[in-house]
């Protein structure tokens, strides 16, 4: 299906991009003012001897160029070194946080994509109707709302006023669950508000892109032909319209998945969700280089991989791209 040369070229570009990103990350955090030992040394009134030991432990006593090669080795062996703040391997820390982010985002992403595309199709199929304008206006309004504000309002309604849903964390603290099912049910309850917040805010882009793409397609001559053949409206929209309108939606989805892995920083903050976004935010404030380098590298990796996959999907979906 794919020509080998095409694939090899793509992969080579991908590898080069990753190396560039890794290098950029290394430089970026080191030109930031501040350093990871600074406030620790002040806070602990450390002796020069203790500060020197810290610098040795985290390799900060090495010349920059050696630090760079140690860092590259760590990145490409997937080790990422030790966190300066938490004094634990970065891999372990990221694994804990990544799991939480994936739980939150997979729930939200599925909801956003399915509902967003569905609503976009409904709006386009009934272009100009009251349903169309309600869907589009609603999607745009929620898209424009600040995420943290939407989250706080939901907390106010469901957490404070109705008091029916938990407002923070992934589980009810201090409770010993009797069974894995009870524990999962508790997690599900904690997922409700952050998921709805993410869905409300993010659904707009899918609605709008799906709608406009499908509206374009539905004005094509072959749609007229399909209608003239006497196909039902459903068949016209789904079989002839949606499939051809999906191309921009695939791109949007790839970008969306890539970007959201970065953690929905605002949602994670409002709902005290222990995910990647919160980890990265703290790491910036503390200049925890190993965590920063690892998280930024992983985000870059996911974005690049998602784009790679969407390139390949284009080949499947659109014969014209295949020919090119």
């Amino acid at each position: 299906m794919f020509r080998l040369g095409y694939l090899a070229r793509k992969l080579a570009i991908l590898a080069l991009t990753l190396l560039a990103v890794a290098t950029f990350n290394f430089i970026l955090f080191r030109v930031l003012p501040g350093n990871p030992i600074q406030l620790q040394a002040r806070a602990g009134n450390l002796s020069p001897e203790a500060i020197q030991r810290l610098r040795e432990i985290y390799g900060l006593d090495q010349p920059l160029i050696s630090q760079y090669f140690i860092y590259l080795r760590d990145v490409f062996t997937g080790q990422f070194g030790m966190s300066i703040t938490y004094q634990r391997p970065v891999v372990d820390i990221i694994a804990e946080r990544m799991l939480n982010t994936l739980i939150l985002l997979s729930a939200a992403t599925v909801l956003v994509i399915v509902l967003g595309i569905g609503l976009g199709i409904v709006a386009a199929a009934r272009r100009g109707s009251r349903i169309d304008s309600s869907v589009v206006v609603g999607a745009l309004v929620f898209w424009s709302l600040p995420t943290f504000w939407t989250g706080l309002i939901l907390i106010f309604i469901f957490g404070a006023f109705l008091n029916v849903l938990p407002v923070s964390g992934t589980s009810t603290p201090g409770v010993d669950f009797t069974s894995p099912i009870a524990s999962l049910a508790d997690l599900a309850r904690h997922l409700v508000l952050p998921t709805i917040t993410l869905a409300l805010v993010d659904i707009g882009q899918f609605v709008v892109i799906t709608r406009s793409s499908l509206v374009d397609v539905l004005t094509e001559d072959y749609i007229l032909t399909a209608k003239a053949k006497g196909l039902s409206r459903r068949q016209v929209v789904w079989r002839h319209g949606v499939r051809n309108a999906l191309l921009p939606v695939v791109t949007t989805t790839a970008l969306y998945v890539g970007l959201t892995i970065g953690g929905a920083i605002q949602v994670e903050t409002v709902f005290s969700w222990p995910g990647m976004g919160a980890l990265m935010y703290d790491a910036v404030l503390r200049r925890d280089y190993p965590i920063l380098e690892a998280t930024f590298f992983i985000f870059a990796l996911v974005v690049i991989a998602a784009n790679f996959v969407s390139d390949l999907l284009y080949q499947v979906l659109d014969p014209r791209v295949r020919e090119a």
Partner: protein, 576 residues
């Protein structure tokens, strides 16, 4: 842990001195100055404490099965006491580990792992007698060898924040398993027993200093009233009551610390009953909790202050404005500053105007300027000082200038996320402009401000706004910040005065509290009048708890929790 406070995450300083708080109370009317008096007071002071500990079981309610839930806005960095820098870690660790001595709810000394202690007549040795039935949570007995290992290892490898209290350590003798004699090369006004957690030798002694430096201590073995069950990272920490604790067991069966990343949501969680007490409540949120159903919001004095620091560095590479080395300008800024307005507008009234670097909450040690000495909200006096110093000319903007035309214009930096500081900086700009001094405000993140300020060889800044949390009832640590030897260390304005340094050394070895107070007062006055540090306010410690879940919270200067006493955790009882 000690350090610069950002206002949201406070860092407590473990600057603890000897039994002196107690001694002040015990002999404030006495004029005794001989160290031998302190020596004899040592054991008698603790006998009261150990009696209280043994009385416990008769009066204490029986241990419950209830869970106490504490909400906070940050979480520990690590559970290794020798590498942590966070207040949250210290809060957890003080429930898991014992020190030799601790603080009660009155912030007076009480026994922990040591049932009693005595100073030698020269003040250079302290003999601690250990609790006979103390055990590590893995079942091994606590002995004087553990004390010896902990102290000597911290001293030998200069480990973490505790090393500063053991700089004069000579060694620890262990005449028997229940007795540890800690020997110093100089008299110690400060008793390190009040601050250093005792670690189990059988767990730690196999590690090198470097290994300790990267040891996460995931399952701490301590001798304290609780043991760690689980740390769900960035979410919650669960402790269980220790069955092997030597003292009166806690009434709470579990303590759970719950992490929130948003103060409004945390307050809502308290209202919903998800947690029982909050460690820190921002002023704006505090007012919203006052009067809420089943909630008591408590305002207590703290051991913290926020201040304006002025660069007086004499380093050749200093890029600070040289005009600020003129004390008249610094004093004029201090006179111009309306501290009461800062408290009302920046702090929403939750604090009191400040002056000395020893907060008013530290009542036994705070020095208060007389009305004549007070520099505050007096623009007339500020103008008079500037006029007298020759800065009478003004440029077209109304800013005073030197005779050569250089304007009195300085850079001012503050931490962007510490909103109280930013607001204070803006008010300070107005106050300064009213006397013809222009301040240009830039806000930075804390780490950037830290590395800008603490650049001892080439500080490129003029004035900053920041804060300190003392957190313990002793002046030693804070008075040690302005030392010449701390330039390159904690001395953030680069003040240096040999006379001040001499006084510091003198107070550190003066065991009699009355004599020591004379010296510490003199130091506070000198530093106040030098006006390199303009203390703005002593903020209140704001906390809130539910009144329908647990009872028996005792307000303490510095906070019911998140303080140097762990006793509220042990003594509160469930209502249902």
């Amino acid at each position: 842990m000690r350090g610069q406070s950002s206002g949201t995450t406070s860092r407590r300083m473990t600057a603890v001195l000897a039994a002196l708080v107690l001694l002040v109370a015990a002999c404030s009317s006495s004029s005794t100055t001989a160290p031998s008096a302190a020596a004899s007071l040592g054991p008698s002071a603790t006998s009261g404490g150990s009696a209280a500990a043994s009385q416990g079981p008769t009066s204490a309610p029986t241990p419950s099965q209830a869970t106490l839930k504490v909400g906070w806005l940050s979480e520990p960095d690590t559970l290794n006491p020798l590498t942590t820098y966070s207040t949250e870690a210290e809060e957890v660790l003080q429930l898991v580990y014992d020190k030799l001595l601790g603080y009660g709810l009155d912030l007076k000394l009480e026994p922990e792992l040591a049932s009693s202690f005595a100073y030698s007549s020269d003040g250079k040795s302290i003999t601690f007698h250990l609790q006979p039935n103390a055990k590590w949570s893995d079942g091994q007995a606590v002995t004087s060898a553990d004390v010896k290992y902990t102290y000597e290892e911290i001293h030998k490898d200069s480990l973490g924040q505790y090393a500063q209290w053991l700089t004069d350590l000579v060694g620890v003798d262990t005449p028997d398993p229940m007795t540890a004699v800690v020997n110093f090369s100089a008299p110690q006004a400060f008793n390190p027993g009040l601050t250093i957690p005792i670690l189990p030798m059988h767990i730690w002694s196999s590690m090198s200093a470097k290994e300790i430096g990267t040891f996460a201590n995931p399952t701490p073995i301590g001798s304290g009233p609780f043991t760690l069950v689980e740390w769900k990272k960035a979410e919650s920490i669960t402790l269980n009551r220790s069955p092997s604790f030597w003292g009166t067991p806690a009434i709470a069966a579990k303590v759970v610390f719950v992490h929130y990343t948003n103060a409004d949501v945390e307050a809502q969680a308290l209202k919903n009953g998800d947690v029982d007490i909050l460690t820190e409540v921002p002023p704006t949120v505090f007012d919203g909790l006052t009067g809420a159903a089943n909630i008591k919001a408590v305002s207590m004095p703290s051991f913290s202050f926020h201040h304006i620091g002025i660069n007086v560095s004499t380093a050749p590479g200093s890029k600070g404005n040289p005009l600020l080395k003129n004390k008249s300008i610094r004093q004029a800024l201090s006179y111009a500053l309306d501290r009461n307005q800062l408290v009302q507008l920046a702090l929403a009234g939750h604090g009191k105007p400040g002056n000395s670097i020893i907060p008013a909450g530290l009542t036994d040690w705070h020095w208060e300027p007389t009305a004549a000495q007070l520099m505050d909200a007096n623009p007339a006096k500020a103008n008079a000082l500037l006029d007298a110093a020759g800065y009478t000319a003004r440029n077209s903007d109304g800013v005073r200038t030197t005779s050569s035309g250089t304007p009195l214009e300085f850079r001012l930096i503050a931490i962007a996320t510490t909103t109280v500081d930013v607001r204070a900086a803006q008010l300070f700009q107005n106050d300064a402009m009213a006397v013809g001094i222009k301040l240009d405000l830039t806000t930075l993140d804390e780490n950037t401000l830290g590395s800008t300020v603490y650049n001892a060889t080439a500080p490129n800044w003029d004035i900053f706004v920041w804060g300190w949390d003392l957190g313990v009832p002793d002046p030693d640590y804070m008075l040690g910040v302005p030392l010449c030897s701390q330039i390159g260390g904690n001395n953030d304005v680069f003040f240096c005065d040999k006379g001040y340094d001499a006084l510091y050394a003198q107070q550190a070895t003066t065991i009699d509290p009355v004599a020591r107070k004379v010296i510490t007062d003199q130091m506070q006055q000198q530093y106040y009048q030098d006006a390199a540090y303009l203390v703005m306010w002593y903020q209140d410690k704001l906390q809130a708890y539910r009144t329908d879940t647990w009872t028996g919270w005792t307000p303490v200067t510095g906070g019911m929790v998140f303080n140097f006493t762990r006793d509220n955790y042990l003594k509160v009882a469930p209502l249902k």
